[in-house]
Amino acid sequence: MTQIVKPVSLSPLAILALSLWIGAHAGAQAPSSQVASDRNPPVNDRIVPESVDDLKSLQEQVKKVVAKCRPTTVGIFVGNSAGSGVMIKKEDGFYVLTAGHVSGNADRDCQLVLPGGKRLKGKTLGANNGIDSGLIKVVDKGAFEHAESGKSKDLKVGQWVVSIGHPGGFQQGRTPVVRVGRILKVDRSTVQTDCTLVGGDSGGPLFDLEGRVIGIHSRIGLSLNVNFHVPVDTYDETWDRLVKSEVWGGTGGFFDLFRSGQAGYLGVQVAQTSGGLEIAEVVAESPAAKAGLKPKDMLLKIDGKALSSPDELPRLLSRKKPGDEIKLEYSREGKAKEITVKLAKRPS
């Protein structure tokens, strides 16, 4: 068995992101032992349904969510990519929450397709590529079915959720595709579920059993249980930046490959392991590759500063410019090594 994680839009750009952006969610959060919540219907406590009655009550709840939420799921065509999104309403009009790797750069024209096939004009706004959130403004006027946002910070592992989207991209004659599963892991940057996703689902909504958007589909791993969603809270927290068409962020991750940045570029993916910061991926022909870094090497220090978390790498690199040299200490198979790497400009 193998594990790789891929973004789930059909964006031709995003294939570069085939490799994993693992750093941000490598630190597993301890599972919460309390799932009951006052706000959730009791059906949410059926962590493991044990009888047909349990299943029936879950079914009723899921059907309510489908009735309420499926009409709010949209298909997105932007450039050569097809993705999904969810309609929401703000004081100044309608917006579509989607994945950053679907909306891509700001101020691009895009087409939004409602479940019935009606097409609307949209404009891409900002994106946080670090977390893969993206926003689109609905340009056409009118009133549209829209979803209510939940709070991803209140999510509990084990909770049942409903995933809707357009796998393979919007298809005439096929309603948005519904899947059901549970939250297996949740932290500030990622929600993981066993609701299966595939290319084209990217940007589509994940709902709780009350029909509130709690996440946006982002990327997948080889196992059917590895499906990642962007937690919805991040859209609220960064709303002003997204609306202002700001495109930012990245953890040195692949989503960044598509944006030009001024930070020095090394070209590695790292993951936190019990032994420290391990290289998960070396981008072909990057400075890291040229310097001979390989997956499984453990990164120790940059310019004498110890690296203790995956976040520290992009932070240190962001202070460097393309062309700058860094002294990098790492260990391979237990042997410490030191090299000098000349940083490059991030490939556009």
Binding site: A28, I47, V48, V52, V178, R179, T196, K296
Partner: protein, 434 residues
């Protein structure tokens, strides 16, 4: 290198989970953090609703191996199954009560990939088909398996709809011949034969008129394509054709369809999480659900929480989708089968020898590696062009080139996946051959 990377990710992602499981003496915590979908405990909750249908579910076996499931549709031993999985003449059906019977395939509806089998038995438990309009989106469904515990469970993802080919990528897992077909008299006309393709190796030429494929007459290109869509790479297919007024018969050892960049990517993602059915449609109508069935779990009944049999599972079509033929369609086809409307050509499939298959795989791998190499060289050149565009300050050119670079990097990524897959296939063929 790809293999190494993949293993790295496996380790990274799975270790935290295993740590959780080991730590979790409290099973409830594990219940929350581990997917339930395959757990017996979870699937047991469906046992009651599926119990009647399970009695009418059989294991279809060829050469001692379960190839798929079957559904008993009449007490007199009529059993439906997925036609393209039954590839031998000797078929055995193992009933839920443990008895085994030799089966004869008495009819095949190619349009829906359904085969009707007959066993010499009486008084069998059989299913009653429900109209799939009761299977509303969000309804929970489960898949009867060979035992008492259902094989899988999920929800209805899309209500019954007409199935259309354009909704999916071409079924690239079928066998590849390498011809361009047009219409001719009295059968499809070969307009072009791809160089080095299986058809070329077998001696097929442009201008040949195809009369029969796999023992069945073909009048139109579409019929030939449909017939070939049921094949797999390595199958030996018999063709009868007309050349210069002379009829002749040849055997073509089918190869693998060359992967196309963008299609390959969809294929790869869809295959993440388990194998898919070789034949994924189109069918007349489909009911789509998200139960993660294996290809060999097709052919059995799909049951809702009220115990109604709303469909017959016909394909594992992608990472997120399983298809069932809706109950009302199957109910309507059963009398047609019994009346002998659907004929059968032989079900046995002739296969190339393991050595030939390995040879084919080696060539395939070499070709893919060469293509990858060429793409890498193109990328290198393009990067140099991009660099000079940057130095020259030609922004228009720079944008154009960087878009090209992205595209080619995408292709390279897809190709590397293909190479890795081809390597694995070759090594497993070499193992089975030796």
């Amino acid at each position: 290198m790809k293999g190494i990377r993949a293993r790295v990710f496996w380790a990274l992602l799975v270790l935290p989970f295993m740590a959780c499981a080991a730590r979790a003496e409290d099973t409830k915590a594990a219940d929350r953090t581990v997917s339930l979908k395959n757990s017996t405990r979870y699937l047991s909750a469906f046992q009651k609703v599926v119990s009647d249908a399970a009695k009418a579910t059989v294991s279809v076996m060829c050469e001692g191996k379960v190839v798929c499931l079957g559904t008993v549709v009449k007490p007199d031993g009529h059993i439906l199954t997925k036609a393209s999985e039954v590839r031998h003449d000797k078929v055995v059906c193992k009933l839920a009560d443990g008895r085994s019977f030799p089966a004869t395939v008495v009819g095949i509806d190619e349009k829906n990939d359904l085969a009707m089998m007959k066993i010499d038995a009486k008084g069998l438990a059989c299913v009653t088909w429900a109209d799939s309009k009761v299977a509303e989106v969000g309804n929970w469904v489960c898949v009867a398996g060979a035992g008492e515990i259902p094989a899988a469970a999920g929800v209805v993802s899309v209500a019954t709809r007409e199935d259309k080919l354009r909704e999916r990528n071409a079924p690239t897992s079928s066998g590849f011949m390498g011809v361009t077909l047009g219409e001719g008299e009295p059968g499809p006309k070969v307009e072009d034969v791809k160089e080095d393709s299986p058809a070329a190796k077998a001696g097929l030429k442009a201008g040949d008129i195809i009369l029969e494929v796999r023992g069945g007459k073909v009048a139109k290109a579409e019929e030939m394509i449909r017939s070939l869509s049921r094949t797999r790479p390595g199958d030996i297919v018999k063709l009868k054709y007309l050349r210069d007024g002379q009829e002749a018969v040849i055997e073509v050892t089918l190869g693998k369809r060359p992967a196309m960049g963008a299609n390959a990517r969809g294929e790869i993602q869809n295959a993440m999480g388990g194998s898919l059915s070789h034949f994924k449609g189109p069918f007349e109508k489909i009911l789509q659900h998200d139960s993660a069935i294996r290809p060999e779990e097709c052919g059995g009944p799909l049951v809702d929480l009220a115990g109604r049999v709303v469909g017959l599972n016909i394909a594992r079509a992608g990472r997120v989708e399983s298809y069932a033929l809706p109950g009302e369609l199957v109910a309507q086809l059963v009398p047609d089968f019994i009346a002998g409307k659907f004929k059968v050509s032989a079900t046995a499939v002739k296969r190339a020898s393991p050595a030939e298959l390995a040879e084919q795989a080696r060539k395939e791998l070499k070709k893919l590696e060469d293509e990858l190499e060429a793409a890498r060289a193109r990328l290198k050149e393009m990067k140099l062009d991009l660099k000079s565009a940057r130095i020259n300050g030609d922004q228009g050119e720079e944008r154009k080139l960087s878009a090209k670079v992205k595209r080619i990097m995408e292709e390279i990524e897809g190709m590397s996946e293909q190479v890795e897959k081809a390597r694995k296939e070759l090594s497993s063929l070499e193992k089975s051959g030796s």
